[in-house]
């Protein structure tokens, strides 16, 4: 056990882990975020709090994480390298840990051009790989990037990273996973899985190198709410691929919402069967209320006690 977070305990116990995602609002009113968090309290181990996702200004992931901790829930604090330099990233990690965060997820972050401040200066002082390594060194070696020692050892954190099996070059996606593990990643969340065949192919390569034994891989899923949403994601969201067959299936369905939900549940059921997949990360963006139903219908309820 590294950090002893609920997420880590479920994974270590050999259970298929479930995490949810909460997008902080474009305001300081966290009523809805609290409401969504409360609604899936018994259905997920932990909640990802996105860090100004798609480069849109929102309440900070750490602040929202602190609110969840107050509610007795467990956050996964997302940290991108887009908006903060190494001084701020390390300082914020200390702050997050001081507030009780036990899981941190390191990402590059969508380019600032996608957001509501496209004229912003992208920081990218360090990259996501270096952030993983920096957190690991702070945690395990008690050292900052610059080499100076922390004044007190850091409470342990469970370090997460992301990988996108649907990005290119495909062959490099497994190399990159291995590199992230070597840098210090303890768990991995993947980009939304719609192309299961490609995901399976990626997992095969992962297993060939035994990487699934060195890191817990959580497959990312997203229930699609409408045909428009599917098309939008297919064409506009960086890093997401949606096969044409899936679009056609939605198109042919009478009730798009029900079909989108069904596709998501089927995907989770298939993920459970893939060797080396340790859990699922449900990103029900703007459809958070459906998470309990997904978890229940996917046969993942009740959650294991830890």
């Amino acid at each position: 056990m590294i950090a002893g977070s609920k997420l880590e305990k479920v994974i270590a116990g050999g259970h298929f882990a479930v995490t949810g995602e909460l997008g902080p609002p474009k305001s300081a009113d966290l009523t809805q975020l609290r409401h969504h968090a409360e609604a899936m309290r018994r259905h997920v181990e932990a909640y990802n709090l996105t860090d100004n996702q798609t480069a849109i200004v929102r309440t900070s992931s750490i602040a929202c994480g602190a609110v969840l901790i107050q509610m007795g829930l467990e956050p996964v604090i997302q940290m991108t390298v887009r908006d903060r330099n190494r001084i701020c990233l390390q300082s914020d990690l200390l702050g997050a840990v001081a507030l009780g965060a036990k899981n941190v997820l390191c990402l590059s972050g969508d380019h600032q051009k996608f957001g509501n401040e496209p004229a912003a200066k992208g920081v990218f002082d360090i990259d996501s790989m270096q952030l993983i390594k920096a957190l690991k060194d702070m945690r395990d070696a008690g050292k900052f990037i610059g080499g100076e020692a922390l004044e007190h050892p850091l409470e342990k954190v469970f370090i997460g990273a992301v990988e996108n099996p649907f990005a290119d070059p495909f062959a490099y996606r497994v190399d990159r996973l291995e590199k992230k593990i070597n840098a210090g990643a303890n768990f991995i969340q993947t980009q939304c899985i719609f192309d299961l065949e490609r995901f399976k192919k990626w997992m095969e390569l992962v297993r060939e190198r035994g990487l699934h034994k060195r890191v817990a891989i959580l497959g990312g899923v997203t229930p699609i709410k409408s045909l428009g949403a599917a098309r939008y994601m297919k064409n506009n969201v960086s890093g997401i691929t949606i096969p044409d067959e899936l679009i056609a299936r939605l198109q042919g369905a009478e009730n798009k919402k029900a079909e989108g939900l069904k596709i998501c549940i089927e995907t989770i059921q298939q993920l459970k069967e893939i060797e080396g997949v340790a859990g699922v990360h449900i990103m029900a963006i703007a459809w958070e209320e459906v998470v309990p139903e997904i978890v229940e219908r996917a046969g993942l309820y009740p959650r294991p006690p830890v």
Binding site: S108, K133, A167, P169, R176, G239
Partner: protein
């Protein structure tokens, strides 16, 4: 070379006063080659300003001429007297040229007519691409000649991010993913193993983040016997 682009005419006109005698000063090196600030462009711009002035019945005038390099004192000195005869120098040099002029002749009013864009080269007639950010600590050895600092929109050092798709960057289908190019090149050279090592955070103090950079070389300084 340094690549620049002329500012929009309206923006240039807005910087001028109606009665000023203006020198539109071209620069004969980089910006001539990239067709933004050479003699031809200086003449064109002076003509446009004069047409506008005539139309607006403004008394001022604009004349065009060019020096070899606005970023070297010796070329500025050659036209120093002439420059003093103008109310305003509209420089068609890069940002370096504008500043060199001001440092050499603080009494002059100098404004920029160009936006300095990048260091790069013409990849085809009429197309200039950026290839160097001047980070001060070259990594081209690692990536076999393709710069991730300049060409990756996130200046990543450890491979492509999750937004790389079909060889293109997430910021636009017209932008190549630098790391895809690097990956393919290293694969062809049989050197992919290089990418396995986690590259440490870059020392940005050698770049602009360390403040303006100065190089002093004693070996080429002229000893003035001081």
């Amino acid at each position: 070379m340094i690549i620049a682009e002329r500012k929009p005419l309206e923006q240039i006109l807005a910087m001028l006063s109606p009665d000023q005698k203006i020198a539109v000063l071209g620069c004969g090196t980089c910006v001539t080659v990239c067709m933004a600030g050479g003699q031809k462009e200086a003449e064109e711009l002076a003509a446009l300003i004069n047409i506008y002035r005539k139309k607006e019945k403004q008394p001022g005038s604009a004349e065009a001429f060019t020096i070899e390099r606005q970023c070297e004192f010796e070329f500025i000195d050659q036209v120093a007297e002439r420059l003093k005869s103008y109310d305003l120098i509209l420089s068609l040099a890069c940002g370096v040229g504008v500043q060199t002029m001001v440092e050499r002749m603080p009494e002059l009013l100098v404004i920029p007519g160009l936006n300095t864009k990048s260091m790069g080269y013409p990849v085809a007639q009429g197309v200039w691409v950026e290839r160097c950010l001047g980070c001060g600590d070259c990594v081209l050895e690692l990536t076999q000649g393709i710069c991730p600092i300049t060409r990756c929109a996130k200046s990543l050092l450890n491979g492509p991010c999750g937004g790389s798709a079909e060889g293109k960057c997430e910021i636009g289908k017209e932008v190549d993913c630098a790391w895809h190019l690097i990956h393919d090149r290293l694969a062809r050279l049989g050197r992919l193993a290089i990418l396995a090592a986690v590259q440490p955070p870059k020392d940005w103090s050698s770049s602009h983040h360390g403040g303006p950079r100065t190089i002093v070389r004693e070996d080429v300084k002229i000893d003035r016997g001081e």
